[in-house]
């Protein structure tokens, strides 16, 4: 399944400073749907090059990271249970505090 993953607010530093990744991710098993839960562990294994604790805590993102599926907060689509579809855009953004 084709997905566009974007990292911002400093999270891109964890994946070689590349902000936009066009990736191909398959569901865990044939006939199953691809969920955010599976995508997170895929990202952790395949894209995160350093300090994984800056991206995840337990099986979800660490506090202070917003997850957006097609420009919408994943809280509104079921968080880890959100089902992804072909060509979805998933954004991981660390909240900023500077001024």
């Amino acid at each position: 399944m084709q997905l566009t993953l974007e990292f911002g607010g400093g999270l891109e530093l964890l994946c070689d400073s590349v902000k936009i990744h066009n990736v191909n991710v398959e569901p865990q098993a044939e006939g199953k749907k691809l969920t955010m839960k599976h995508l997170l562990s895929w990202v952790r294994t395949n894209l995160i090059k350093e300090r994984p604790e800056m991206f995840m805590k337990g099986d979800t993102v660490r506090p202070g990271v917003l997850v957006l599926v097609n420009d919408c907060d994943w809280e509104l689509s079921g968080q880890l249970e959100t089902v992804l579809e072909e060509k979805d855009i998933v954004v991981f953004i660390s909240t900023l505090h500077g001024g």
């Binding site: 800056m54 506090p63 954004v91 909240t95 500077g98 001024g99």
Partner: protein, 466 residues
């Protein structure tokens, strides 16, 4: 000015600046005294400064009519069908508090004063520094070393003398937050640290004030409106504070000046929309700005959370709870933006920059490793230092061994082995590096306490700091 025909020296210029500054301070004092005398004739009180040159907003709004001066000044607003007289009158009656007169607060304050917000409050405890001026555009060189609030207030008054500017030259704390915020209709969060952001959001929840929240770092910015007409508060979005290692500061990571400028302007825009009751304020949505790729994305964020510890249904925060809440403990980071000072090493594994200098003078055989990132090293470095950034230390340990061996070869008459010193900008990463080097068998590695900043402070005042 010197007309004796003698060449003028920097010392002469400095003397002349000092004498002019003294004269200026005396004139300022006389103006202040006169203002105090003038205020005894009028109704102006407290810490607001009387402005004799133009009529006050309240006077100009008699019978709900704009005065001729107001109509002329704000004519371009009045000509907009979606703004018009009503929204302008709303602005003139409104009060906005801007917390932080830095990169975000600078443009926000300039626009809020210019657009005719009736009363604008400014909170900050900091003073203007030279390295602020590339982004904190409300301040000028003449104000370096003086209060940011004083500087920002003077700039706002110069743009619009009909606006009442209130100066709060103090740090924003739970002890004064309620008292200050209570006097305003809208709050703009233009601060630069995590505990302040939680504290300001909670304070706005307790007092029911809409909060225009902006942030900027590096080449990115974020903006949203919290606690507005049933929308979420900061805690609804971020119930748990981020780990301290995830909180970067402009003083460490850098920031392109215009980025907080863009976000600060947008904060003024959102404040004007809320104050004027026009348009759709950015509540329940967040604007993400990426300067490098010139992309702006507006995303939908969650609504108010019923479980929120600040604004949730069952846990409405009270004023007393707010005053007793320790935001520094909660977020594990300090309210002031003073840099972290780690103490990881025993004293025998550290030396001061003065001691290091003495060892250089004595000609001690040694290797100095600078563990700052390469782009820091390019700004300025000590002569003969070897740049191995902390992040790549593991992969480049052989370079340390090679440098030590080379140094020992040079001084082969000396039976002692070469010493190993580690330096960074402020003395935190150098300690982390020394800990690692000890673990990897470089038992003699020592860090230089306080890093290059202490070198500039204690050894070589001409060494640049950044």
């Amino acid at each position: 000015m010197d007309s004796n025909g003698v060449a003028e020296t920097p010392a002469d210029i400095r003397r002349e600046i000092a004498s002019l500054e003294k004269a200026k301070a005396e004139i300022d004092d006389r103006i202040t005294a006169l203002r105090v005398r003038l205020s005894s004739y009028g109704s102006v009180n407290g810490n607001e400064v009387a402005n004799s040159s133009a009529p006050r907003t309240e006077e100009t709004l008699l019978n709900g009519q704009l005065s001729p001066d107001m109509i002329y000044r704000y004519s371009r607003h009045l000509l907009l069908p979606s703004v018009g007289v009503e929204a302008q009158a709303n602005l003139l009656k409104c009060s906005v508090l801007v917390i932080g007169a830095g990169g975000l607060g600078s443009p926000a304050l300039l626009y809020l004063a210019a657009c005719g917000i009736g009363r604008v409050g400014i909170v900050d405890h900091d003073v203007v520094e030279l390295n602020n001026l590339h982004r904190q555009i409300i301040h000028t060189e003449a104000y370096i070393g003086r209060s940011k609030v004083e500087s920002a207030a003077a700039a706002c008054r110069a743009i619009n003398s009909t606006v009442q500017i209130v100066e709060h030259r103090e740090a924003f704390r739970t002890s004064n937050a309620l008292e200050i915020v209570r006097k305003y209709d809208i709050v703009v969060d233009a601060t630069d640290n995590v505990p302040s952001r939680y504290m300001i959001s909670d304070c706005c929840v307790v007092l029911g004030k809409p909060l225009i929240s902006g942030a900027a770092l590096g080449l990115e910015g974020q903006l949203t409106v919290y606690n507005y007409k049933g929308g979420p508060c900061y805690r609804c979005l971020f119930p748990t504070p981020p780990p301290t290692t995830a909180c970067q500061r402009c003083a460490d990571s850098g920031v392109l000046g215009v980025v907080p400028g863009v976000i600060g302007c947008l904060q003024a825009l959102e404040a004007i929309k809320v104050a004027g009751a026009v348009g759709e304020p950015l509540s329940g949505r967040m604007l993400l700005f990426d300067a490098l790729s010139a992309r702006i994305r507006v995303v939908k964020i969650r609504g108010r959370s019923p479980q929120c510890e600040a604004c949730g249904e069952n846990s409405k925060l009270t004023e007393e709870q707010f005053c007793n809440f320790n935001y520094e403990t909660f977020t594990q980071s300090p309210l002031s933006t003073s840099p972290l000072k780690l103490h990881l090493l025993p004293s025998e594994a550290r030396i001061t920059s003065k001691e290091y200098n003495e060892r250089i003078v004595k000609g001690e055989a040694h290797v100095l490793v600078d563990v700052r990132p390469a782009h820091h090293y390019k700004i300025i470095s000590l002569p003969k230092s070897l740049n191995i950034p902390l992040a790549s230390m593991e992969a480049r340990l052989s370079e340390v061994s090679a440098a030590l061996a080379r140094e020992e070869g040079h001084k082969n008459n000396n039976s002692q082995s070469a010493s190993l010193y580690v330096i960074c900008r402020r003395g935190n990463d150098s300690q982390r590096a020394v800990q690692y080097l000890h673990k990897m068998g470089f038992a003699s590695a020592k860090d230089i306490i306080g890093g290059l900043e202490s070198w500039a402070h204690d050894v070589d005042p001409s060494f640049p700091t950044y």
